[in-house]
């Protein structure tokens, strides 16, 4: 599975959205991307890519696109 596929799969599963909703998706843009969904997503991204997301970056993952930028900092190219 490519990094993009893994990344998308976690968004789709944790935030209960469809693949076509991913582009432009923002925090609170869907009912399930609330603080609970967010923490789930962060934990799963850490596990899937074997990284530790710092406290300040937890808040920086504010959209589908921003999340990619954050992961890049950890050497994960999506």
């Amino acid at each position: 599975m490519t990094n993009l596929e893994t990344y998308n799969r976690l968004f789709i599963r944790d935030l209960r959205v469809k693949e076509e909703d991913l582009s432009g998706l923002k925090y609170r843009g869907t009912r399930s991307w609330d603080s609970l969904g967010h923490m789930d997503l962060v934990a799963d991204l850490e596990e899937a890519f074997d990284i530790h997301i710092t406290t300040s970056d937890v808040m920086n993952i504010s959209s589908y696109e921003k999340g990619k930028e954050v992961l890049l900092k950890y050497g994960v190219v999506i």
């Binding site: 209960r16 925090y27 609170r28 406290t55």
Partner: protein, 471 residues
């Protein structure tokens, strides 16, 4: 008694400001209230769909000022559950955000104000209301249970006074909203600050969003409150390393905080010169009943403290007698002027007077140490808390049984973990159950475990034997 009795000294002051720069003064609230009562035309029942915005705040406070009785509901309440509540209670009006108008059903918009619509319903069965009844809150909001708590103006004022005294709240405080307005704890934060003429900082953003913290810093917020889950989040997002010199008070309620987190936040507060106050409450007591004084937060870690000023705790044994000895577990009983009037299960109950007379059997089991500090040890009633919100296990069972005809269910669990035994098989079915539960109640699947079984254990009279099911 009246929440606004000292108002003349602060009517020109700021009542609230939102994160978009919108502001509203106590004087604006007065104009709003006059208009509200003119349009509603007296003491009637109204449903408010709440969010942390100026429109919502004005609606709630306007009701308190004028005697209109609101049922406070979450903005995101499932429309099916909302319709059921409307059928049961027959409100004359709804007060809803513009983006939720679709949920209002058939009604006429009579006033658009601050992003909200006052909608008049064509209602012939409007309930009669007890003169002292001020507000209604749900007992288990997410399942749409029709069981409500009836609170009077005196209840609200008594609790607000007491909270102001033990937290030393003054007019200069600037609290930020971290909890919904339809939730007793969130509401009590509003009540006690309004009592002192303080300003409230309203935001719909959550603590995991950076703009929330920008708002906190820019507006020099002085206090915030949270349920146990909030504190877990605060830790994960690096709150303990943030520089927030103006923030002086952190409060916690809505369930027992894990001892490690309690310790950590208490130590943080001591090191940074803030106060961290663990509290205990229930909607049935308007909001708060107990608090652990900030200077005891570390020494009595794990305790919910002592009774609030004006209240009294005692423990009751199985025979109903008071337990005098320390470290003996019993049901926690609270006495005070903030004990609500009683429950309502249907609209005829809204004319009932005070049924509880200042005594509340909390349903929580507790013990007391030799110095009089109380520790919650368990629960008598069948409910759990999911992320601070009370969820009635029997209600969840009822919802599931109604929808999945022919499937038997048994729900149990502990805080932040709901366990559903389902007498069914198949991955698909289990997924469907999870989806339905989320759809209707918003209960997060991550807090739910569904266990398929063959047959739910029952006793001779057909009652579920929960003790035979594992948590």
């Amino acid at each position: 008694m009246n929440l606004f009795e000292n108002e003349s000294s602060y009517e020109n002051r700021l009542l609230a400001e939102n994160d978009g720069g919108g502001r509203v003064s106590y004087q604006d609230l007065n104009s709003f209230s006059e208009e509200l009562i003119r349009r509603v035309g007296g003491k009637k029942l109204i449903f408010i769909l709440c969010e942390n915005t100026i429109g919502s705040l004005l609606g709630y406070l306007g009701c308190l000022k004028t005697g209109v009785v609101p049922l406070m509901l979450e903005k995101h309440i499932n429309s099916q559950l909302l319709s059921r509540l409307m059928e049961e209670y027959c409100p004359a009006f709804l007060y809803v955000p513009e983006d939720c108008l679709a949920k209002a059903g058939e009604c006429e918009i009579v006033w658009r104000v601050r992003g909200y619509c006052l909608c008049e319903r064509n209602e012939f069965h409007s309930p009669s209301l007890y003169g002292e009844l001020a507000i209604l809150l749900t007992t288990s909001g997410s399942t749409g249970s029709p069981k409500l708590v009836r609170q009077s103006k005196d209840n609200i004022v008594a609790n607000a006074e007491s909270i102001c005294s033990y937290l030393n709240i003054q007019e200069k405080e600037r609290p930020v909203t971290t909890l919904p307005m339809n939730y007793t704890y969130g509401l009590s934060i509003i009540n006690c600050h309004v009592r002192k003429g303080a300003a409230i900082y309203l935001t719909t953003k959550s603590i995991v969003e950076r703009p929330f913290w920008d708002f906190v810093k820019e507006r020099k917020v002085t206090s915030l409150g949270g349920v146990p889950y909030t504190y877990q989040l605060l830790k994960r997002i690096g709150f303990l390393e943030m520089d927030l010199p103006e923030l002086r008070t952190l409060t916690q309620a809505g369930g027992k905080l894990p001892t490690t987190l309690h310790k950590e936040f208490a130590a943080y507060a001591r090191e940074t010169g803030k106060q961290f106050v663990v509290m205990y409450g229930q909607t049935e007591a308007t909001a708060r009943m107990g608090y652990l004084p900030a200077d005891r937060a570390e020494e009595r870690c794990g305790s919910m403290g002592i009774a609030i000023p004006g209240g009294r705790f005692w423990l009751r044994d199985e025979k109903g007698e008071e337990i005098k000895a320390p470290f003996v577990q019993g049901e926690l009983v609270y006495e005070g002027d903030n004990v609500a009037l009683g429950y309502a299960s249907s609209r005829v109950d809204l004319k009932k007077e005070d049924e509880w007379n200042g005594i509340l059997y909390t349903g929580d089991m507790a013990k007391r140490d030799t110095d009089g500090f109380y520790y919650i040890t368990g629960r008598k009633k069948r409910f759990i808390k999911l992320f601070g919100n009370r969820v009635n296990l029997d209600e969840v069972e009822r919802l599931l049984k109604e929808h999945f005809e022919g499937v038997d269910f048994a729900c149990l669990g502990r805080d932040d973990s709901l366990i559903i035994y389902a007498d069914t098989k198949g991955e698909e079915k289990l997924k469907e159950i999870m989806e339905y539960l989320y759809e209707i109640t918003g209960i997060s699947p991550r807090a739910v475990t569904i266990r398929p079984v063959t047959g739910i254990p029952k006793n001779e009279s057909g009652k579920t034997l929960y003790s035979e099911l594992e948590i």
